[in-house]
């Protein structure tokens, strides 16, 4: 059996104001402070679409290589719930703003504009609706612009969903149209999962997995659901269409509702709004204002700059890191991009993490100062291990690489006499490993190299030390 997975992703747009009224978007503010008659659905109010949200949707459509509908229309999706004050959500139904796109190896079925629901807060010990004493509604979030992206069922595993999801998140983030923060709910992902015999082109009965707030959990949830469906079918059972919740702490799947309880949304073309008819100019300008997107950036780093695969992906998914990397390369064109990339994604990222920082933007290290350090290593004036010590100081206190090297006396030993003396001292002080090397045990050389490095405080070139040791001990 193989799994077939399709995704529905809700992206909250980071516009100034809500989708259909002038209330400011907010997160974490005092409840019900960003509301007006329109987003509280008072009698007589009318929606007016947010032009910026339409522009943002066009940007997403362009980034996902979608066709834009010449006239897309809004519909009312009717259902009663306190988080839905009009008792209908304004969404798009049969003519969405964008269709038939692609991102990486996954086809995009459609993308449409809609408004977010308000937030329910269940008062009581559990914090969930079951067993709560009362439910409160915070309408601050109600009416936030959303773009819902629906993929074709092109995904095959939880791991692929995680990887593709991260690519999508990086792509949207690059556009600057959303905060794409899954914990805050500005990016939300639902998955439709089914299984079928390998090679079949018939889709099996799907289940829908909702409300997963990280791609790790989504991966695990989907794997658990695929496993459940496989076991069910293997034991002669049948998959039932239902909505599931994956609990990442227990690893269990809970049914939220079955098909019998499914809503009839009674879709109705929204008579209060005219169709969205973007001009050719709006579509072209969206296409032309696209930044270099992560997938394209990764392949440029890989194919043109020779950056290693993993580093290329890391850099292209995080705008800030990519900018830092490009800054290093630009500061000194004698530095190999491959080497610069390794320093940025390796040593620098590790040092920042160690000192409790996530991003390079706030750190004291600038692309130019890192370029100097990398240059010193490349020209063999500073050893790799000494350079790491320098970087630690740069991250902690700032400063220029060259000055730190001088202050700390970390310049690589270039005087072969000095180095030779150190090597000989190390052999003398460690007779046992020296003897082992002499009798053919090459592994024992490590202890001797270590001793030299320690004595030189990392100023020695490890390669040169090894060469000298071998020379002395083979004689």
């Amino acid at each position: 059996m193989e799994a077939v997975i399709g995704l529905e992703i809700h992206v909250q747009l980071s516009t100034q104001t809500k989708m259909f009224c002038g209330c400011r978007l907010s997160f974490g503010d005092e409840p019900n402070t960003h509301t007006c008659p329109v987003c509280l659905a008072h009698p007589g109010v009318l929606p007016v679409p947010n032009k910026k949200a339409i522009d943002y949707a066009l940007l997403i459509a362009a980034a996902l290589e979608c066709e834009v509908a010449p006239r897309s229309i809004f519909h009312r999706k009717n259902y009663f719930y306190p988080d839905n004050p009009k008792a209908y959500q304004i969404s798009q139904f049969d003519i969405p703003i964008a269709i038939n796109g692609r991102l990486g190896d996954v086809r995009i079925h459609r993308a449409h504009l809609e408004e977010d629901a308000a937030k329910m807060i269940h008062v009581g010990e559990s914090g969930r609706i079951q067993g709560s004493d009362a439910s409160l509604v915070d309408f601050n979030r109600g009416g936030t612009p959303l773009v819902e992206i629906v993929t074709e069922p092109d995904l095959k595993s939880g791991a692929q969903v995680r990887e593709w999801g991260q690519l999508l998140r990086a792509t949207i983030k690059q556009l600057g149209v959303s905060n794409v923060n899954m914990e805050e709910g500005s990016l939300r992902c639902d998955a439709n999962v089914s299984i079928r015999p390998v090679g079949s082109d018939v889709l099996g009965t799907k289940t829908e997995m909702k409300n997963m707030n990280s791609f790790r959990f989504i991966e695990r949830g989907i794997e658990a659901e695929i496993e459940r469906q496989k076991q069910l079918v293997a034991s002669g059972g049948r998959v039932v269409q239902e909505t599931l919740h994956y609990d990442p702490t227990s690893g269990e799947l809970h049914s939220l509702r079955s098909k019998e309880e499914a809503h009839d949304y009674r879709y109705l073309p929204e008579p209060d709004l005219v169709p969205i008819a973007p001009s050719e100019q709006m579509i072209t300008s969206a296409r032309e204002s696209l930044p270099e997107l992560p997938a394209a950036k990764a392949s440029r780093y890989r194919d043109q700059l020779g950056v290693q695969d993993a580093a290329a992906l890391l850099l292209s998914f995080e705008t800030e890191w990519a900018e830092f990397f490009e800054g290093v390369v630009a500061a000194d064109d004698s530095i190999e991009p491959r080497v610069a990339a390794n320093w940025v994604t390796g040593e620098l990222a590790a040092e920042l993490r160690k000192q409790g920082d996530e991003a390079p933007s706030g750190s004291r290290v600038t692309p130019a100062s890192l370029a100097v350090l990398v240059g010193l290593v490349a020209s063999k004036r500073v050893s790799h291990s000494a350079a790491k010590n320098v970087l630690e100081i740069m991250v902690a206190e700032g400063g220029e690489a060259l000055e730190i090297v001088k202050e700390q006396g970390l310049e690589q030993i270039s005087d072969s006499g000095e180095l030779e003396a150190m090597v000989e001292a190390a052999i003398e002080a460690n007779p046992k490993p020296a003897e082992q090397v002499r009798s053919g045990n090459d592994k024992a050389i490590g202890a001797l190299v270590g001793a030299v490095m320690k004595q030189s405080k990392g100023r020695a070139d490890g390669g040169e030390v090894t060469r000298l040791l071998k020379e002395k001990l083979s004689g």
């Binding site: 008659p37 509280l40 659905a41 008072h42 009698p43 007589g44 109010v45 009318l46 929606p47 007016v48 679409p49 009312r76 009717n78 009663f80 306190p82 004050p85 009009k86 008792a87 209908y88 439910s135 509604v137 009839d264 949304y265 009674r266 879709y267 109705l268 008579p271 209060d272 709004l273 005219v274």
Partner: protein
């Protein structure tokens, strides 16, 4: 000047008296507030005191209507003032904002006399669907004033307001104007902002004036029309509206839609209509037959489309945020009991009709088909207006009927809108002017008969000119006790 003169004056005449300083805006307001508070017709659901009437009003405005008070249908949201749409579900509701049309009138210096009675959520043709009892027809208080803007029509005809604002979805301005012997104009869809007008059927609802004469209708429309950034379906009327002055109908052609005027019309109404047609010809207008082949299906399409939109528009009355709320702690029961108690029978009937029509599996058969009929009616009007300047019909197939006469038979009640619904579906402007008197079919005192003229979209100015010329020739001034000829 004596109060009686002020009460007899049209709004335009009153505005002129105020401008010339012959009467002060304050005197004018107190006279009319006194009239409104002496309401015996149940025309008002709420009447203002002086402070409330002037709340938000620009008294220094130099508009052509400054100082002339107005009655507002209770379907318009008015900040801090009870607004119920004549429904129990909105009992006690005071909106936090004011409708655009009302705001424009306040900005033009017009005080608000009060909020007028209506059929609940504008659903009805007799005002008997008000949760607060029907308004009465001032010509005969045992008869209905029409609906849904029955309170507005009764107030103007009964001398309780110089003029009033109403709304029309399938005839709700024109039919009560006809039944009460006054002028009612439904503008082109999109001319006037719908922001703050409690929605019944959003693709049909339009706000308009109920007045004593055609000049007043033009004057009031000129103040409310215009694009509003709060209503993305609003466009306004290009060039605005000026006061009509035509004296003849030479060169103008009028079409009678024979498909529509087949059956179901009172003989008395027919006779007045035929006489009015002769008057048009006497004024130099030419009259011929036109086809509106699908207009007779208008009522059927309307009673699918309007309830479908209403069923979703009225879903927001759920007890969560405003209005009445049942105290049940279980969500589903709270919804059911709140809505069950809050809505009247006709509103429930239409919510159920509309919910059914939108249900999956039935959508195409009902809503989809009704939309196609609507498209055909739009084309019929396009074709007709290719041949004639105006389409004319009686406004209503009968004169005002007795209270309770049709309440048990909704289908007969729905037929009251037979001649007005097609124009609503086509979105074109139409006016009803009083054209004479006729005896009710079952006998009794003569009652007013309305004459409807419809024009192409945004043809309001031409429509008002023709209505003005015809009004002068008919000599019917809308006052009770004075019959035109």
């Amino acid at each position: 000047m004596p109060d009686s003169d002020l009460k007899a004056a049209t709004a335009a005449e009153t505005a002129a008296l105020i401008r010339r300083g012959e009467v002060s805006a304050g005197e004018c307001l107190s006279t009319w507030l006194e009239q409104a508070s002496a309401d015996e017709l149940n025309a008002y659901l709420w009447t203002a005191d002086e402070a409330a009437a002037l709340d938000g009003v620009d008294q220094n405005s130099k508009s052509p209507v400054t100082g002339v008070p107005v009655a507002i249908k209770d379907i318009f949201c008015t900040r801090g003032v009870p607004t119920t749409a004549a429904s129990k579900i909105l009992e006690g509701y005071r909106p936090p904002y004011t409708a655009t049309a009302v705001r424009r009138l306040a900005a033009a210096g017009m005080p608000m006399l009060g909020k007028t009675n209506m059929d609940e959520f504008a659903m009805g043709s007799s005002n008997e669907n008000s949760a607060y009892g029907p308004a009465l027809n001032p010509w005969d208080r045992k008869r209905v004033p029409g609906g849904s803007s029955g309170g507005s029509a009764a107030a103007v005809a009964g001398g309780l307001a110089p003029w009033a604002l109403g709304t029309d979805t399938g005839g709700s301005i024109r039919q009560p104007a006809a039944l009460c012997g006054i002028v009612g104009l439904k503008p082109t869809y999109g001319s006037v902002s719908r922001y703050g007008m409690i929605a019944f059927a959003s693709s049909l609802d339009q706000c308009g004036p109920l007045t004593r004469d055609v000049t007043d209708a033009a004057l009031l429309l000129s103040q409310i029309e215009g694009r509003d950034e709060m209503d993305s379906t609003s466009t306004g009327i290009e060039g605005g509206i000026s006061l009509p002055s035509a004296i003849g109908l030479e060169g103008l052609s009028f079409g009678i839609p024979v498909d529509l005027l087949g059956e179901g019309m009172d003989p008395g109404v027919r006779a007045v209509f035929d006489q009015t047609v002769s008057t048009i010809e006497g004024l130099g207008g030419s009259v011929r037959e036109v086809r509106l082949a699908h207009a007779s299906h208008g009522i059927s399409a309307y009673y699918v489309l309007a309830p479908a939109e209403a069923s979703t528009n009225l879903s927001r009355y759920d007890g969560v945020r405003y209005g009445i709320r049942d105290s049940n702690r279980d969500l589903a029961s709270m919804y059911e009991i709140t809505r069950g108690d809050g809505f009247g029978a006709e509103v429930k009937r239409r919510i159920m009709l509309g919910t059914y029509a939108l249900s999956s599996g039935y959508y195409d058969a009902y809503y989809g088909r009704a939309q196609r009929v609507r498209t055909m009616i739009v084309r019929d009007f396009d074709a007709a207006f290719g041949q004639v300047d105006f389409v004319i019909t009686p406004t209503s197939p009968s004169v005002a009927f007795g209270l309770g006469e049709k309440t048990l038979d909704p289908l007969t009640m729905y037929m009251s809108d037979l001649f007005t619904v097609p124009m609503s579906l086509a979105g074109v402007p139409a006016i009803s002017i009083p054209s004479g008197m006729a005896s009710p079919e079952g006998g009794g005192e003569k009652m007013p008969v309305g004459f409807q003229i419809a024009a192409p979209a945004f043809g309001e100015q031409g429509l008002l000119e023709a209505a003005f010329a015809l009004e002068a020739a008919l000599g019917f001034d809308g006052s009770i006790g004075r019959e035109g000829r």
